[in-house]
């Protein structure tokens, strides 16, 4: 038994020694560069992959070392908090974060404040009251105005339906600021139109398969739905599959949010009406650029808004 253990230990230590050597060299090469952390909600969503690309481009251009970390699942606030705690230990200069929970992440940001690490919030706003109570202050917020995006989608829905529609809504995870704002914008945009009726509104938790299932159920209960607004494209794409499964492709108009590649293809193919485009690449880029400004002691505006666009068939 001892022999096996000893062998195992020797192998591991050998690996460690080699790896250590390599890291020592790497460390020498990068030690001159200040480190900026970008903590995302997840990396298994094209939106955040794009954001990372933008951030990396800016980091390479500006000579900072970018460390990107994300929880395995978007809803895992506790894991995101652990990541923030761990990043604080590595001596990062600025923390850029897309909060998994507008309130929950504040507890982690208290620790960043105590370690005197400035924080830049990207994409999802902090809950102002929770942040205020905890004395947490962000250098800036970088993102699109989700409320405005929802409003644009609502106005577009009125245009294409002539102001008369039976609408089904797919919501994101309840309590998420991002989804709530989009829905609020959409609802307020159509509120004045008497013939625009929301017949059902259910959460599909940002996921494609849930978008499929929830919308399939919705169609069972409300045969007359002719328009769908999904708070994200993944859910919209799920709904499109459900519509196809019901043999009603083209009869139900689907409006999504994010303008993902798949959504753009669906719009070209005519299975989807439109999608509100955000520019995550620009957000990632702006996050790192702002981080560098913070390092140089520059003041940032409270909000840095990234443009929105309605993508429709050309």
């Amino acid at each position: 038994m001892m022999r096996t253990l000893t062998r195992l230990a020797v192998v591991l230590i050998a690996i460690a020694a080699v790896a250590c050597n390599r890291t020592a060299n790497d460390a020498a090469a990068i030690s001159a560069k200040p480190a900026v952390a970008l903590v995302l909600k997840t990396l298994n969503h094209p939106f955040f992959v794009e954001m990372r690309r933008g951030a990396q481009e800016a980091a390479d251009r500006l000579g900072v070392q970018l460390q990107v970390q994300a929880a395995e699942r978007e809803i895992d606030v506790e894991k995101q908090m652990q990541i923030v705690e761990n990043m604080i230990q590595t001596g990062i200069k600025v923390l850029c974060i897309t909060p998994s929970g507008s309130r929950e992440i504040v507890s982690a940001l208290v620790k960043a404040r105590d370690a005197k690490i400035p924080v830049i919030i990207v994409d999802t706003r902090l809950d102002p009251k929770t942040a205020g109570d905890a004395g947490v202050h962000a250098e800036t917020f970088i993102g699109s105005d989700n409320y405005e995006g929802g409003r644009i989608a609502g106005q577009y829905a009125i245009t294409i339906t002539g102001g008369k529609a039976r609408i089904g809504i797919l919501e994101g995870i309840p309590g998420h600021e991002t989804g709530d704002s989009r829905l609020r914008g959409f609802r307020e945009a159509i509120a004045a139109e008497k013939a625009m009726t929301i017949v059902a509104s259910q959460p599909a938790n940002w996921e494609r398969d849930q978008g499929f299932n929830v919308f399939q159920n919705m169609l069972q209960a409300h045969q007359d739905i002719d328009t769908v607004f999904a708070a994200s494209d993944l859910m919209a794409l799920g709904a499109i599959e459900a519509i196809a499964a019901a043999g009603r492709t083209g009869k139900i108009r689907v409006i999504g949010f994010d303008a993902l590649e798949d959504a753009k293809k669906a719009i070209e193919a005519g299975t989807m009406a439109a999608s509100v485009a955000q520019f995550p690449y620009e957000m990632g880029k702006a996050a790192v650029e702002s981080a560098v400004k913070v390092m140089h002691g520059e003041k940032l505006p409270a909000d840095i808004m990234v443009k929105l666009e309605m993508v429709t068939r050309q």
């Binding site: 990107v68 309130r103 929770t130 309840p174």
Partner: protein
């Protein structure tokens, strides 16, 4: 038994040495306390899981019970009940949910996998229903102290974890109930024939698991300053992993709580270290999966050599 615990402990030490060699940020007091605090929730859930697995069962409902106990705790605190009463309520909910699992398994004669799979869905659903899917946030500082307070320099969650392990260890090694946990897992029929009141003890084992899940829920809720109905997703897998890495046999009858604690620490240290090294979250999953399988492989090899 000693040799196997030694093997797991050695694994943890080697892991720490490797990380110490790889990054200057690992072996600092601040970071080690950080790891201990992060490990606390999984470690506490794994206590109940160890009881259940030792008895030859499995509990898939722990993550959902964390969510259910958490949101009821949150609602109770928001209703203005004193923290002590709210904590008691949360622990009762967890205990009762576990007891229901145990009764269905024992009296209903159903497989633990099925019963706790059902409870996993029901407890989660109930948590979503009572909150309408929304998180319950912002609690008074007196309650939050459970996560934020430090006694000396040690974070409170670490002390709570130590307390839970100390009590559970005593129960497992010094009481008749503890011996029966091993006996039932070793050979349920023989235990029954030798006069052990299985119908009393088996439901209690699952109640312990529900109770520790509720304690974890209390720490989690205080830590996030929020109770989420979607909290605790996949906690069952982390707890099973910690238990198994710690050398407890999935067949029941063999294992220790000390092993489980080391198992939880290995997972916590690994996650922390991979973060410190800036390893991508996709690679992290591969590494963690590899460690779970590797640890059990080594364990099995050691057992075979002794046999």
């Amino acid at each position: 038994m000693k040799a196997r615990r030694f093997g797991t402990l050695l694994g943890l030490i080697v892991l720490c040495l490797v990380l110490w060699a790889l990054t200057p940020h690992f072996l600092t007091v601040a970071n080690l306390l950080n790891v201990a605090e992060q490990t606390s929730i999984n470690a506490i859930v794994a206590v109940g899981m160890t009881f259940v697995i030792l008895s030859g069962g499995i509990d898939l409902s722990v993550g959902s019970i964390v969510a259910l106990a958490g949101v009821l705790l949150g609602l109770s605190l928001h209703a203005g009940h004193p923290p002590a009463l709210s904590l008691l309520l949360a622990m009762s909910i967890g205990g009762v949910a576990g007891l229901i699992n145990g009764l269905l398994i024992d009296r209903g004669g159903l497989p633990p996998f099925i019963v706790t799979l059902g409870m996993m869905s029901m407890a989660r659903g109930l948590a979503l229903v009572v909150t309408e899917g929304r998180p319950i946030s912002s609690f008074e500082p007196a309650f939050r102290a459970i996560a934020t307070m430090r006694i000396g320099f040690i974070p409170a969650p670490v002390l709570i974890t130590a307390g839970v392990y100390a009590i559970a260890h005593l129960v497992l090694t010094r009481t008749a109930f503890g011996r029966y946990v091993y006996a039932i897992g070793g050979n349920e029929e023989a235990s029954l024939l030798s006069g052990i009141r299985i119908h009393l003890h088996k439901p209690l084992i699952y109640a312990v698991s529900g109770l520790t899940s509720a304690i974890a829920a209390i720490v989690l809720t205080a830590r996030l300053n929020s109770a989420q109905p979607i909290a605790g997703t996949m906690y069952e897998l982390d707890a099973i992993a910690a238990t198994v890495i710690g050398g407890t046999s999935l067949m029941g009858g063999r294992g220790t709580l000390a092993g489980t604690l080391i198992g939880a620490l290995i997972m916590g240290v690994l996650r922390n270290g991979l973060n410190l090294l800036g390893v991508s979250s996709f690679l992290q999953q591969i590494v963690i999966g590899g460690v779970i399988v590797g640890a059990v492989l080594v364990d099995t090899m050691l057992k075979r050599q002794r046999a």
